[in-house]
Amino acid sequence: MSAISVPQQRGQPRAQIGKYAAIMRINMQNSVAYAWDAAGQGIFIVLFIFIFSQLWRATFAAQDATVIGGLTLNQTLWYFVWAELIELTKIRVSFTIQDEVKDGSLAYTLGRPYNYVLYHLFSGLGAVGIRMIVVLVFGAAIALTQVGPLHTFRLETLPAVLLITLFAFLLDFCFSAGIGLLAFFFEDTSAFRLIYQKINFVLGGLLLPVDLLPDAVQSVARVLPFNLILYGPSKLLVAWDSAQFAQILALQIVWLAVLASGVALLFRFGARRVSINGG
C-alpha cells in the first residue's frame, strides 16, 4: 500500500513552518560563511568584560565585600558575559527594515508568500546561533582569565536559561522591528534606536544588575519588559532560582504577546501608506 503524496498547500501549518524553517536554514548557512564577522563583536565583549572586571574588582575591594547585590565578583562578571552576549548578538533588524521602508524595496516583498516581519525574524534567528558561539568563546576566554570559571554553573539548568534567552531575543526583536517600522512615519529612526539601546543599558541591567539599582528605580525596572531581555537570562545563569525562572518566563510570554500585537498593528497601519509607482 502506498500513499499518494499531495504537495503541501500554501497556508497549511506544515507548509508555513517549512517555509520559515527554510528561511532560517539558509541564513544559518550564510552565517557560517561570515563567522569571522562575528569576531568584531568578540573584540567588543573582550573590551567590555575587561573594563567591567577592573571596575567591579575595584568596587568589591573598595566596599571590602565578597557579595554585592547577592552576587560574588565571579558571578557578577559572568552575569555581564551573558548580558553582553545577548546585547551583541541580538537580531538588529531595525536598520534593515528602516532602509527597506525608505527606499521602497519593502513594496516588492508585500506580494510574496510570506509575512514580512516573520521573514526578518526567522532570517535573523538563523544567523544568531553561530554569532553567539563565536562571541561566547571570546567572552568566556576573557572571563576565565579574569575570575576563572563560573562557580555556580549547573549544567542541568542550561536548557532553561537558553529558553529564557530565546524569549529574550524574541522580545528584543519586537522592539527592533517596531523601531524599524516607525520609518513609515518618521524620516529617520536612529534616535529611537539609540534611546532603546540606552534604556536597556540601565533598566535592562546591562551596565548594572537590576538588584543594584535604587529601590524606586528597581521597582520601575521590574515592571518594564527591558529587564526580561538582559537581566533575566543573565541572572538565572549565574544564580539559578526555579521560582524566578517561572516568573520571568510568564512575564516574557505576556510581554511578547503585547509587543508582537503592537508590531503587527504598526505594520498594518504602515503598509497602508506604501504607494507603488511603476515597476
Binding site: D37, L47, A58, A191, L194, K198, V202, P214
Partner: protein
C-alpha cells in the same frame, strides 16, 4: 601665516555650508540631536546610580564623572559636528572615492574631513555644556581651561578616527575596524583611568589615546596644571602629525574607483 588663515577661512566656510545643509531637514536634525542628548543622558544615569550606591571608585566621585562627561561629549560633539566626514574616511578610501578631493586645489585631508556635518553630534555638544553646568566650576580660569581642553580632545578624536580610517589604504575595507577602534577609545575614556594599570595604561596614553580625551583634561580643569596643558597640546599635535603622515603614505597606495561622484 596668510596660508594658514586662508585654510581656516576655508574650513569655517565649509562648516557654514554644512550647517545650512543639515538645517534643510530641520525636523530630522532636531530629532537626531535630541536623540543623542537623551542617549548620553541615559548613559550618564548609569554613573549616577553607580555612585549613589558606591560613592567613590579609585579617586573618582560623581563630580569627576560630571566633568569627564562634559569634556568627552563636548569634545566629541565639536569633533564630528565640524569634521563629520572623519568616520567616513575608511569607506571613502575603500570605495576609491577620494578623486573628488584630489582634483581640487585645497589640502585634501582638510577638505575631506570637513565636507560633512553630523547632526547627531549636535546633541553631544549641548549635552557637554549641560554636564559642565552640573560641575559647579564657574570661575573663568576653569571655564577657559575646560573649553581649551575640549578643543584639544576634539582634535584627538578627529585625528584618531581618521587615522583608523586610513587603514583602508593598507588592508582593504577597514570600515568596521575603524569603527571598533574609535568605539574602543571612547569607551575607555568614559571610565576612571585609575581602573587601568600597567601595560593597559600605557596603551591608553599611546596607541588608543583615551587618557588624553578624558582623564588628562579632567585633571587640568581640577588642578589648573600648566604642564598637563602642554602635554595635552602635544598629544593633539602628535595625533595630527600621525594622521598627516599616515594619510600621505596611504595616498601613494590609493586606487581610484573611477566612480563619478557629485558631492551636493
Amino acid at each position: 601665516m596668510a596660508r594658514v588663515l586662508n585654510e581656516i577661512g576655508f574650513v569655517l566656510h565649509m562648516i557654514k555650508l554644512n550647517l545650512a545643509g543639515i538645517m534643510e531637514y530641520r525636523a530630522s536634525f532636531v530629532m537626531q540631536a535630541v536623540g543623542m542628548f537623551i542617549n548620553n543622558g541615559i548613559y550618564f544615569v548609569f554613573w549616577l546610580l553607580f555612585f549613589d550606591r558606591f560613592q567613590e571608585i579609585r579617586g573618582y566621585e560623581i563630580e569627576q564623572i560630571y566633568l569627564l562627561f562634559a569634556i568627552i561629549t563636548l569634545g566629541w560633539g565639536l569633533a564630528f559636528t565640524t569634521a563629520g566626514n572623519a568616520p567616513q574616511v575608511a569607506g571613502l578610501i575603500a570605495q576609491g572615492r577620494l578623486d573628488y578631493y584630489l582634483t581640487l586645489p585645497r589640502p585634501v585631508i582638510l577638505h575631506l574631513l570637513f565636507s560633512r556635518m553630523d547632526a547627531f553630534s549636535m546633541g553631544d555638544l549641548t549635552f557637554g555644556v549641560v554636564a559642565y553646568l552640573l560641575t559647579g566650576r564657574y570661575d573663568p580660569l576653569s571655564i577657559a581651561l575646560f573649553l581649551l581642553c575640549t578643543v584639544f580632545a576634539a582634535v584627538i578624536f578627529i585625528c584618531f578616527r581618521a587615522t583608523a580610517g586610513c587603514l583602508s589604504f593598507f588592508v582593504g575595507n577597514a570600515t568596521q575596524w575603524a569603527g571598533h577602534l574609535s568605539q574602543m577609545m571612547v569607551t575607555f575614556s568614559l571610565y576612571p583611568m585609575g581602573l587601568f594599570q600597567g601595560t593597559m595604561r600605557l596603551v591608553l596614553y599611546t596607541l588608543i589615546p583615551a587618557g588624553f580625551v578624558g582623564a588628562v583634561p579632567v585633571e587640568i580643569v581640577e588642578t589648573h596644571n600648566p604642564a598637563l596643558v602642554g602635554a595635552l597640546a602635544g598629544a593633539a599635535l602628535v595625533s595630527a602629525a600621525v594622521l598627516v603622515l599616515v594619510f600621505r603614505l596611504g595616498l601613494r597606495r590609493y586606487e581610484s574607483g573611477s566612480a563619478i561622484n557629485v558631492n551636493i
